[in-house]
């Protein structure tokens, strides 16, 4: 007999404003084995936790059920609480009545309360059968991979290197430094960007703990905290940096000219080039795309003049395999492609440039750039590609107000005759020293006009540009001519981020940047253990915020690695020895070869078992089982969550894998997107754990449909799960066919964590379908069964 305590959380109104928490607590109190059931405003607070501790002592509780938020959020907190009371952390179960009830179903408080009761009943049923398991300790080393060598990656690498950790800094470009190398000065202090950046860049290669891998890309990442296996491809530069003296002889003779990316295409470079004047590593690179020397017969000019013999056309891409313990993502941003905002004519009108172009012009001389004429009348257009639904970016890019303030006053001060206007929607000078800096620009005579520019029209003869804009303060329509229009382009996530984020199973927030684990208290963590975010990969931010976040990410990584070990979940397969007859069918179904059979009985190697549950369906004797999600537990969950179902109602179960589908359901809840209230979500490590028998039991117990939600194959921690699930489903469908039950009641969807709309569509799709086909008749249900 278990002694269970049930706690229903108000979540400060997040739950209690929709769900009748008192009713849920009263309902739980009447369940067998439940000793006490209470409701409390904040279960995760000290008061709430103390309440649990006291009750465990006073009422001799041995199981705890908390009906609150998703276990993804506070699960770890409550596990610690029960652990500190001397119980196993695995005797705590959570009913997710916030992300799955009060948030998505806020419009239907009554039904949401009923669903909350079902979920609480389900958690109680599982808790009854919880085993007292212990966490397994795993070793962790001191190796970090940092993806991206901009200012965020550099700062994190230096922090970690200085603290004695082994750092692999991977940068896709031939030089580290990122966008900051291109800037003129930094706001609001007007430091020369290259001057403050170059010493930091130079520190990287001399740090003995940092291995710098430039011109390299992460091709694959597999594994988990403490054991991420990373494959990196280092592209050939065709120049040996050890021999190159940067004498420039090769550049003089190179015949291939291409636009210079570093100068935003305002100048050209040769096929052999130095990435930027402060490049680290400081060495020439041959750009294969434009070099003629790939056919050495065509051109070997650089090779011929290179005195130290640094050039080698026969270099090949190198594959580097490393193992690291933690990873910091610092892949940064791209500037918004202004051609998408066609009304401003960027790319079409020669005198419309981006703010990054202006940075380069000012670097070459604010008084009058040798690169191009600026003219005297200059207009800055703000919010280009930011705060604009028409281009799909609703977010504020946070830095454009201040860089325009900077560029405009640098231009004005270097030549007071210039007439400079900044057309803005809202001017946001929120940072330290920003407001003062804005005031300085106003004092210098830069004119700020409140109004978003509707369109730019070029005079085809003079090439001057007419801006149409409403001065929203006087309500006059301004149509004025300018010599130069500067677009204050916003920040977008770096295109290369997605690939690596998918390998690491990190989701994106609606703005397209990567999602942190918690917006307030885990701003640099991700939901993937041991992976952290630094800089603009998480969202637009300025240099000081980026540096602060990089240091925060490195200290979070140090916090994990410094302990030398970390706890691992005991979710692993085990064998009921009395049932096993040593048939070895499970052995071939294990994707990690963790099962062996000796003296007629199977056994599981815990170091190899990843807990996917693929072996369960293979066993004809039901001898294999999975800790934390045992057959008995999942069956008890299924039966209890369907208990309240009335005859005319339709219900379907969603088995959601922990890695993606369950998180996705949380994200949908957080976004307050509603979906079919007939659904009941059951959390499992992987759908491969749901045997055909369990699916049939679910239909017998009253479910009218089943949706299996699993990670996509490439992002799944269990590579063979998909094929196991497919074979399990086809077995069930065969039985349904025989019993004349619609096969479409069983559905299988592979999710990615960002597919919020896809999740909702799938839930509603099945919900609507089941309403249409009506519940399965009792007569048919009874006949369902499977012979092993």
């Amino acid at each position: 007999m278990a002694r269970i305590g049930v706690y229903v959380c108000h979540c400060g109104g997040n739950i209690s404003e929709v769900i009748d928490v008192k009713e849920v607590a009263a309902f739980a109190g009447e369940k067998s084995d439940v000793v006490i059931a209470k409701d409390e405003t904040h279960m995760c607070s000290d008061v709430g936790q103390q309440l649990i501790l006291n009750d465990i002592k006073e009422h001799k509780l041995d199981k705890v059920v908390i009906a609150a938020c998703s276990p993804q959020f506070q699960g770890a907190t409550f596990m610690r609480t029960v652990e500190s009371a001397g119980l196993s952390p695995y005797v705590m179960e959570m009913a997710n009545i916030r992300e799955q009830c009060s948030w998505p179903h806020f419009d239907f408080p009554k039904d949401a309360t009923e669903k909350a009761k079902d979920l609480t009943d389900m958690a109680i049923a599982k808790a009854r059968l919880d085993e007292s398991l212990k966490k397994k300790m795993m070793p962790i080393g001191k190796r970090v991979l940092i993806v991206g060598g901009g200012i965020a990656g550099i700062q994190a690498a230096l922090d970690l290197g200085d603290a004695g950790f082994k750092v692999y800094l991977v940068e896709k470009d031939p030089s580290i430094g990122g966008h900051m190398t291109q800037l003129s000065r930094t706001f609001p202090t007007e430091d020369c960007a290259a001057c403050i950046l170059s010493p930091k860049m130079a520190d990287v290669p001399v740090n003995p703990n940092i291995e710098l891998l430039t011109y390299s890309e992460v091709k694959n990442i597999e594994g988990f905290l403490g054991n991420y296996e990373v494959r990196i491809e280092k592209k050939p530069t065709y120049v040996d940096p050890a021999k190159c003296t940067c004498c420039d002889d090769c550049v003089d003779v190179c015949p291939a000219k291409v636009p210079n990316e570093y100068e935003e295409g305002l100048t050209t470079r040769k096929a052999i080039y130095l990435p930027n004047p402060i490049a680290v590593p400081h060495s020439y690179v041959i750009d294969v795309e434009s070099c003629l020397g790939q056919v050495p017969l065509a051109c070997t000019k650089c090779f011929d003049v290179c005195e130290p013999g640094a050039i080698n056309y026969d270099q090949y891409a190198e594959e580097i395999n490393i193992t690291v313990d933690t990873i910091i993502m610092a892949t940064g941003f791209e500037i918004f492609d202004a051609t998408q905002k066609a009304v401003y004519g960027f790319g079409k009108y020669e005198n419309v440039i981006t703010a990054m172009d202006m940075e380069r012009l000012i670097v070459h001389g604010a008084e009058g750039s040798p690169l191009r004429a600026t003219g005297n009348r200059i207009a800055f257009i703000q919010c280009v590609g930011s705060r604009d639904e028409q281009v799909g970016n609703e977010n504020c890019s946070r830095i454009c107000c201040m860089y325009a303030t900077k560029l405009s006053q640098l231009l004005k001060r270097s030549d007071p005759k210039r007439d400079i206007y900044v057309f803005y929607t809202d001017l946001r000078a929120y940072g330290k020293g920003f407001e003062e800096y804005y005031k300085r620009a106003q004092g210098d005579g830069v004119k700020f006009i409140r109004g978003r520019v509707a369109e730019v029209i070029e005079n085809s003869k003079t090439k001057k540009l007419t801006l149409k804009v409403e001065d929203t303060l006087t309500r006059n329509i301004i149509e004025s001519e300018f010599d130069l229009v500067v677009l204050s382009v916003g920040l977008r996530p770096n295109g290369g981020t997605d690939k690596v984020a998918n390998m690491l199973r990190i989701s994106k927030s609606p703005d397209g940047f990567l999602q942190e684990a918690h917006p307030k208290f885990k701003p640099v963590d991700t939901l993937t253990d041991g992976v952290f975010l630094a800089g603009t990969v998480q969202g637009p931010k300025d240099i000081p915020d980026t540096v602060a976040q990089a240091s925060a990410a490195s200290s979070r990584a140090i916090r994990l690695m410094n302990q030398g070990e970390f706890a691992l979940d005991p979710i692993m397969a085990f064998v009921h020895e009395d049932l096993c007859d040593g048939c070895k069918l499970c052995v071939e179904h294990c994707p990690t070869d963790a099962i062996t059979v000796s003296s007629g009985i199977a056994s599981v190697n815990e170091a190899l078992c990843k807990g996917c549950g693929s072996c369960l369906a293979a066993c004809p004797k039901d001898a294999l089982d999975l800790h934390v999600y045992t057959n008995d537990q999942v069956l008890a969950e299924i039966k209890s969550v369907l208990k309240s179902k009335k005859k005319e109602q339709s219900r379907f179960l969603v088995f959601a894998d922990d890695m993606t589908a369950y998180r996705l359901s949380d994200n949908v809840g957080i976004a307050k997107m509603s979906y079919s209230i007939d659904s009941r979500i059951i959390r499992i490590p992987s759908c491969s754990r749901i045997t055909p028998k369990l699916m049939l039991e679910a239909l017998k117990a009253g479910a009218d449909g089943i949706l299996l939600g699993e990670s996509e194959e490439k992002s799944s921690p269990f590579p063979d799960a998909i094929s196991t699930i497919n074979s399990n489903i086809s077995k069930v469908k065969q039985i349904l066919r025989k019993n004349e039950i619609e096969e479409e009641r069983i559905r299988f969807v592979q999710f990615v964590t960002v597919m919020l709309g896809g999740f909702v569509n799938n839930m509603n799709g099945l919900g609507d379908y089941l309403k249409k086909v009506r519940p399965i008749s009792d007569k048919k249900r009874k006949k369902l069964g499977i012979r092993n």
Binding site: R387, A454, E455, V469, E470, R475
Partner: protein, 134 residues
């Protein structure tokens, strides 16, 4: 001279009504002015389109007596450019509806001079009666 206005719950009622008729969430407008500057009719208007929206946000019913809403040609230039995704032509239509529902006769056939009656195309007269009597 500057106008003095007070904001009461009646103002909110007007905003709610325009939102209901137009189907647009008018409070989303952040008054950037993109609509006004790109509007092909703005030169003829007494207030700019963004001013029209601002008046509705504040619930100033005087906006019903302005010309802007009648001059809106529903060309959708503002709609495709609005950074907050608002459809201003729907808002102008909502304002016209409210005005028309008051069912005020603006044209009295008896008061039209006979010469004009001969000159004016009949179809224009009839649609004029319909339009202005709701």
């Amino acid at each position: 001279m500057a106008n003095k206005i007070t904001i009461t719950s009646e103002n909110v009622e007007f905003l709610r009504k325009v939102e209901e008729l137009s189907g647009e969430i008018i409070t989303l407008c952040d008054q950037c002015g993109t609509c006004s500057a790109g509007c092909p009719m703005v030169g003829e208007m007494d207030i700019t389109p963004s001013q029209m929206v601002r008046n509705v946000q504040l619930g100033i019913t005087d906006v019903l007596d302005t010309k802007a809403m009648w001059l809106c040609a529903s060309c959708f230039t503002c709609t495709v450019r609005c950074p907050r995704g608002l459809d201003l032509s729907k808002i102008a239509e909502a304002l016209r509806q409210i005005k028309l529902r008051k069912a005020v006769d603006y044209i009295d056939i008896n008061k039209l001079p006979e010469e004009d009656l001969k000159e004016l195309p009949q179809i224009a007269l009839i649609s004029g009666f319909r339009k202005f009597t709701g």
